[in-house]
């Protein structure tokens, strides 16, 4: 079990070392700074779409939503409209709460033996850490747009100002930087320290956590310790986004570590459990209305059956049947 942790951690360290070596060779810089992001982004985009299309090819002949409450039945039985939806509106609400609030994680329960009693009690830690992590990641990604587009849209500047509103230090530390660091560390500790989690966790579980932690740490180091020329980074990033790639001089090595880790994340995404980003929308346990008994659901791969009527049967074996003296409906 420990080897899985070491393999995942070692892979991230390997990428960091490779990026540092690459950054010290001038000829390799455009490869890591420009070519690698292009390739990784293309793999991400195409891989993601193909994966979703592949999923969409699987028929879902029957409604299999997980039900989190009373289904629609008689008018005097209280119906749980969102947790057991049977209308499109209900499904939309359910998906909204699932995608934006992680509602099913919120229902997480634990069962413990407490002084002789078996207790089922809610635990919210996983939900809290997951929610904090995902929203911080989203806000950081949107804030990063300032490096990719010119002119910078107003909502990016507003988000930047709100995120840095405490104006601690120069350059100011963002709230989401603190949150993402705490949450990813918490999620990692969950896998490393809980024996049951450690038993279940695979390299594919540790690797994304170490990778994202690596991205966050390299970003923070770039902002607060090993500063780079942000105008040069923006020239590079807008160059990529406008298909006029350039490789400006004087970008520190730490940037290549950051971009190599991000590229790895993008390229790895379609092949990993991170595909839950697309998968949550495709899950038949979430996105189907519970109308099993209300509506007729036709098996999508159903072909019209070939009937063989008794009349045809008789026509086929008439002679033999006559010979054997069997009764015939038609002579």
């Amino acid at each position: 079990m420990i080897t899985r942790i070491i393999v995942a951690f070692g892979a991230v360290v390997g990428i960091v070392i490779a990026a540092l070596i690459g950054a010290s060779v001038p000829g390799l810089r455009p490869l890591i700074g420009v070519a690698l992001p292009y390739v990784a982004f293309a793999i991400f985009l195409v891989g993601f779409i193909l994966k979703v299309v592949n999923w969409a090819k699987s028929p879902v002949p029957f409604r299999i939503p997980t039900t989190g409450g009373q289904e629609f039945s008689l008018p005097w039985i209280k119906w749980s409209k969102i947790d057991n939806p049977s209308t499109t509106g209900g499904v939309i609400m359910r998906m909204f709460f699932e995608v934006c609030c992680f509602r099913s994680l919120f229902r997480n329960m634990r069962t413990d033996l407490r002084s002789g009693w078996l207790i089922h009690h809610p635990t919210k830690w996983l939900w809290l850490l997951a929610l904090g992590f995902h929203y911080s990641f989203l806000i950081i990604a949107i804030r990063h747009l300032r490096l990719f587009v010119q002119p910078v849209p107003g909502f990016v500047e507003t988000l930047d100002a709100v995120d840095g509103m405490f104006q601690i230090g120069i350059p100011p530390i963002y709230l989401t930087d603190i949150f993402i660091l705490l949450c990813v560390t918490g999620l990692l500790i969950r896998r490393l320290c809980l024996p049951k989690m450690r038993f279940m966790s695979l390299v594919a579980d540790y690797f994304p956590l170490f990778l994202i932690l690596g991205i966050v740490i390299s970003g923070l180091l770039m902002r607060f310790v090993y500063r780079v020329d942000i105008t040069a980074v923006k020239a590079l990033a807008t160059g990529i986004a406008s298909f006029h790639p350039v490789m400006p001089e004087g970008i520190g090595a730490i940037f290549f570590v950051h971009i190599a880790l991000v590229s790895t994340l993008l390229a790895y995404f379609p092949f990993s459990k991170l595909m839950h980003m697309g998968g949550v929308f495709m899950s038949p346990t979430r996105n189907l209305a519970n109308t099993n008994r209300m509506a007729y659901h036709e098996n999508p791969w159903r072909k019209p059956p070939k009937f063989h009527s008794y009349e045809e049967y008789e026509d086929m074996y008439r002679d033999y049947m006559k010979e054997a003296g069997l009764p015939l409906e038609r002579e």
Binding site: E157, I170, H244
Partner: protein, 132 residues
């Protein structure tokens, strides 16, 4: 593919979000700004040199200013000795902005490009600038 209408709409939204920078920039790159050094104070310099070396100033001037502020206001030490051993009076308005008196064509040029709005000018006065 089942439910292809819904899946395709979803995938188009996905691609639209992730391709936003590519669409928004529509092929016109945004080159690095060239902060102007064309000020009387800099023209009068025998050597075109900043307080510290240029690469350090470009990447780290914000942290450097923060250190200056702490040195001046917390330690009460208003003289800074740079790497070359030159003594410099610590002041945002009277040192940086004396040489870089063209805030609009210097500081602001980079800051608009990188979308940062230093809050220093809420209180500090740019002696040659228009705006408080």
């Amino acid at each position: 593919m089942y439910d292809s209408g819904k899946v395709i709409i979803g995938l188009l939204i996905f691609a639209g979000i992730f391709l936003f920078p590519f669409i928004y920039d529509h092929g016109s790159p945004a080159p690095k700004p060239k902060p102007s050094l064309d000020t009387p104070a800099i023209k009068a310099l025998p050597e075109k040199k900043c307080v510290e070396d240029t690469q350090f100033m470009i990447t780290t001037h914000m942290q450097f200013l923060n250190d200056w502020r702490d040195q001046a206001l917390r330690d009460g030490n208003r003289w800074y000795v740079n790497k070359e051993g030159k003594k410099i009076w610590i002041s945002l308005q009277n040192t940086c902005m004396k040489c870089h008196s063209n805030k609009k064509d210097f500081c602001d040029k980079c800051h608009n490009y990188a979308a940062v709005q230093p809050y220093c000018w809420d209180c500090h006065y740019d002696p040659n600038g228009s705006k408080l």
